[in-house]
């Protein structure tokens, strides 16, 4: 079984799975149950001066029958006294010395930071996470994402904390910014030991059209919240990768956050450079128990790939994340439809015709290509027409010369493995940046022609 333990800027964790600073890490009782279930660490619900919360606080987007694809919240930081939280942190660390407890912090003045950091470290926290990400409520008070959005402020406050902290300092970044790399560099410039990202995305999740009030409703009002859950994973993956491949921001370890629901999501974050991952929404949906499959599944995956440790996976996909201009224009793939897996829904046909490049057809006759086709003549129907096991003569066929290999048909196909994209060998490698270098970057039909 592969070694899942990690060393995150000196913080040792039995596995890369940490609870994110959020309701599941609100109290000692919860965190201890999470550690019993197998979580390697927890970032405590953000500490600071206790706040008052509103009712209600959460709202979600469902996708078909899948509930909570995206979750929005307007809950603030901890509403419990600091002394109580600190006592619980002390108790948890005493009982679970091998598990990681990181104190998430949010406050204002330099002196506030000094005092808060000292108290948390005295309580036994393994590290500190500066919450520069919360996009609702706290930012109106000059904290949270209002810091993360201002690189100079971000650097300055980070450098304060580094003066006071004996334990590693992680900066948690907000995605609500124009360029995440600028924010990451600012955090590193302030001397942080690690970066956590992403915090939630500023959002309005939906509207009660009868009451004409956005969700989540607080009586007849609402406010923008922070969006998270499976829906935000692609945004988070990009931001993690953008930092991982940046020479300056990529110097410190990354704790990846955003829609991690299972081992596969975690493996993706790690492959893009994360050392640990943090989870909230999936735990809010299904409970601490999900970590069992995260550990089991990641371990099985590493074994299957011949990797002895999770650290071998870290950053494995970063190198393949390149600029568009460096992609191979000569690489070509076309869609192939497995006639016996096809169930005849023909969603690929309409997707290709209306949403892509008009190269999937049905029926036994040759078909007219669209006027904008790249090749002359008709699309040739295959002979004999493919007869599918389930779909009979409803199996569509691909006009391969016209197929641009966009993947759309495969994406809409409900049957896994029915449409595959196969490489057409023989393309000559060439990139847009090659063409620019060689002065061949002007294509016919430009703005000044005709």
């Amino acid at each position: 079984m592969a070694d899942l333990s990690i060393d995150f800027c000196g913080i040792k964790s039995p596995n890369p799975f940490w609870l994110a600073s959020a309701p599941p890490a609100n109290s000692g009782e919860q965190v201890m149950r999470a550690f019993d279930a197998g979580w390697g660490g927890a970032v405590w619900k953000t500490l600071g001066d206790p706040i008052m919360n509103v009712s209600s606080r959460f709202a979600a987007v469902d996708l078909g029958t899948y509930k909570m694809m995206g979750l929005n919240n307007i809950e603030l930081i901890t509403d419990r006294p600091l002394s109580v939280n600190l006592k619980e942190i002390y108790e948890v660390k005493k009982r679970y010395p091998k598990n990681v407890v990181i104190a998430s912090l949010m406050t204002e003045t330099r002196d506030d930071w000094r005092v808060l950091i000292k108290k948390c470290e005295d309580a036994g926290a393994d590290g500190l996470e500066l919450n520069f990400g919360c996009p609702h409520g706290m930012c109106e008070r000059g904290m949270g994402s209002s810091v993360g959005q201002e690189p100079k402020l971000l650097t300055e406050i980070t450098s304060w904390t580094k003066e006071f902290a004996k334990t590693p300092v992680l900066v948690k970044l907000t995605p609500n910014t124009g360029d995440i790399v600028e924010a990451g560099q600012a955090a590193v410039a302030g001397g942080c030991d690690g970066i956590s990202l992403i915090n939630t995305i500023k959002s309005i999740i939906g509207i009660d059209l009868d009451a004409m009030v956005p969700y989540p409703k607080v009586g007849k009002q609402s406010t923008n919240g922070g969006y998270c859950g499976p829906a935000v994973k692609p945004i988070a993956l990009h931001m993690v990768a953008a930092l991982a491949r940046d020479a300056q921001a990529g110097k410190v370890p990354i704790s990846g956050i955003g829609g991690v629901s299972n081992w596969r999501d975690a493996a993706e974050f790690i492959a893009l450079g994360s050392t640990s991952v943090q989870v909230c929404t999936a735990v809010m949906h299904y409970g601490y128990r999900i970590v069992e499959d995260m550990i089991d599944g990641l371990s099985e995956f590493l074994d299957a790939k011949g990797m002895k440790s999770v650290s071998e996976l870290r950053g494995k996909a970063v190198g393949a994340y390149e600029e568009w201009g460096d992609l191979d224009l000569g690489h070509k793939i076309v869609a192939k439809i497995d006639k016996d897996k096809c169930i005849g829904c023909q969603l690929c046909v309409t997707a290709c015709h209306d949403g892509a490049h008009q190269c999937i057809f049905t029926g036994a006759e040759d078909r007219d290509r669209p006027p904008q086709a790249h090749h002359p003549g008709k699309a040739k129907a295959p002979t004999p027409l493919p007869l599918g096991k389930h779909a009979g003569d409803r199996v569509p066929w691909v006009d391969e010369p016209e197929c641009v290999g966009c993947n759309l048909c495969q994406l809409v196909c409900p049957v896994s493995g029915c449409i595959s994209m196969e490489e057409v060998p023989g393309g000559k490698r060439e990139t847009w940046n090659d063409r620019v270098r060689e002065g061949r970057d002007k294509l016919p039909g430009g703005i000044h022609e005709g």
């Binding site: 081992w263 596969r264 069992e292 499959d293 599944g297 099985e300 995956f301 074994d303 896994s416 493995g417």
Partner: protein, 438 residues
């Protein structure tokens, strides 16, 4: 015992039956797994005699961790593959799926379990449970059916030397030669036994305890003995004309169909006597094999039948007729002794009403009215007792009998239940023994 499947003839009548619940493809399995709500304190788990953590294994299929799913299953039930295919999920796990309450189709738990476990059983797969170092402890099982397999497999995985003594030439008991082939073929059962065997289970085939080896010898040689002998011969009607060709016990007929009869065998008009699940199995098998006519004759009404309603319903769609309230009184034969009909009388509360006799023409009568108990085995082990129905008395939680060294489980203690009940018994006995100091 690495190539048990080669013990079987290739040309077997059972191979003529279709697989009623074929293996899911990856896409199908994932789509179905995604449908599972991942309930907490799930009713499906409570309905499983081996308490498999069903939502967890399904969630693992959804996440793509299929090996992990198999491990979750096998940890609780080493025969999780055959149970996936054999279990009456309609009245167990899937029957309690919360979707039923909502009027929606329950999760296809059996098919998902097959998807996960069949992948793990493929040749070349790494062992899910690498055998632990030998602990020097030795156990034996009498009979090599599901209960004994679970007992020995679970203990072998923990480092015990486990040996099964089986009077027949092939192991597996009813799992190998008693299951409807559209659920599980004999070859599938043996493939699973080969897999369990890799844990380090040893087999002594063709050895009958009490005849070839005494119970005392086992008690002398082993720390504990597990009795998993199942049931005995098919019961008889006790009516005139019963003895002779054309009348066969149901379990015996299934065994012949699965192991001996050639694929070319043709069936004429068949009458199956009985109202339990074995009766329905035989009737469905005959109908699916193309018998000219298949009738189930039951002495009481449909509502009194012990067979599952969903099985009977499936059988009727396949062409099985049900003759209710009919009590067999004689088997009618021609001068040459060939069977021509089953004579029945109208049944009133299961008793024949005199003067209502009539003949149901047929070429074969299969008797599915129960099996005898193998009472003799108890005499081999001092302290092991039988109840008034001939069942071995064992603690329902631990399987321990009146002799603390002797455990028992499966049909020989419950009189005939599901494979999964037998597996639970074997596993529970193994866990009880494990908890004892070596």
């Amino acid at each position: 015992m690495n190539d048990l499947v080669s013990l079987l003839k290739k040309d077997r009548l059972e191979t003529q039956l279709p697989d009623k619940k074929p293996l899911y493809g990856e896409g199908e399995a994932k789509a179905e797994a995604e449908r599972c709500l991942y309930c907490v304190d799930a009713p499906c788990v409570k309905a499983c005699p081996t308490e498999i953590d069903i939502p967890t294994f399904i969630k693992k299929i959804a996440s793509g961790n299929v090996r992990g799913a198999a491990r979750t299953i096998f940890e609780q039930n080493l025969l999780g593959y055959s149970c996936a295919r054999v279990c009456p999920v309609e009245v167990l796990c899937a029957g309690d799926c919360v979707y039923n309450a909502w009027g929606r189709e329950p999760i296809q738990i059996g098919r998902l379990q097959r998807f996960a476990t069949e992948a793990a059983l493929q040749p070349g797969q790494k062992m899910l449970f690498p055998p632990k170092p030998k602990n020097g402890r030795k156990v034996a099982a009498v009979g090599a059916g599901p209960a004994s397999l679970a007992f020995c497999g679970h203990l072998a995985a923990e480092g015990f030397a486990a040996t099964m003594y089986e009077r027949y030439a092939v192991p597996g008991g009813l799992n190998t030669w008693g299951i409807a082939p559209y659920k599980l073929l004999a070859s599938d059962s043996l493939a699973e036994i080969e897999w369990v065997g890799k844990m380090g289970v040893d087999y002594r085939m063709g050895v009958e305890i009490g005849k070839d080896v005494t119970g005392q010898k086992l008690l002398d040689e082993y720390e504990a003995v597990f009795i998993g002998v199942g049931l005995g011969e098919d019961s008889k009607l006790g009516v005139p004309g019963e003895d002779g060709p054309g009348v066969v016990g149901a379990v015996e007929w299934i065994r012949q169909m699965k192991l001996e009869k050639p694929a070319s065998e043709k069936l004429g008009r068949v009458i199956v006597v009985g109202g339990g699940n074995t009766a329905i199995d035989v009737a469905r098998e005959c109908a699916l094999l193309g018998a000219e006519d298949v009738a189930m004759v039951y002495r009481r009404s449909k509502a009194d039948m012990s067979g599952y309603a969903h099985e009977l319903e499936a059988g009727r769609k396949e062409g099985v007729r049900l003759v209710e309230n009919a009590v067999p009184v004689a088997v009618v034969r021609d001068a040459a002794g060939k069977i021509t009909a089953l004579r029945v009388a109208k049944g009133a509360s299961g008793k024949a009403v005199p003067g209502t006799e009539h003949d149901l023409p047929c070429d074969l009568v299969a008797l599915a009215i129960g099996q005898s108990k193998l009472c003799e085995i108890a005499k081999q082990f001092p302290g092991v007792e039988l109840d008034d129905k001939g069942r071995i008395v064992a603690d329902p939680k631990t399987g321990q009998t009146g002799n603390p060294k002797v455990y028992a489980g499966g049909d020989c203690i419950n009189g005939g239940k599901e494979v999964v009940n037998a597996v639970a018994d074997g596993r529970n006995a193994a866990r009880h023994l494990l908890a004892k100091k070596g």
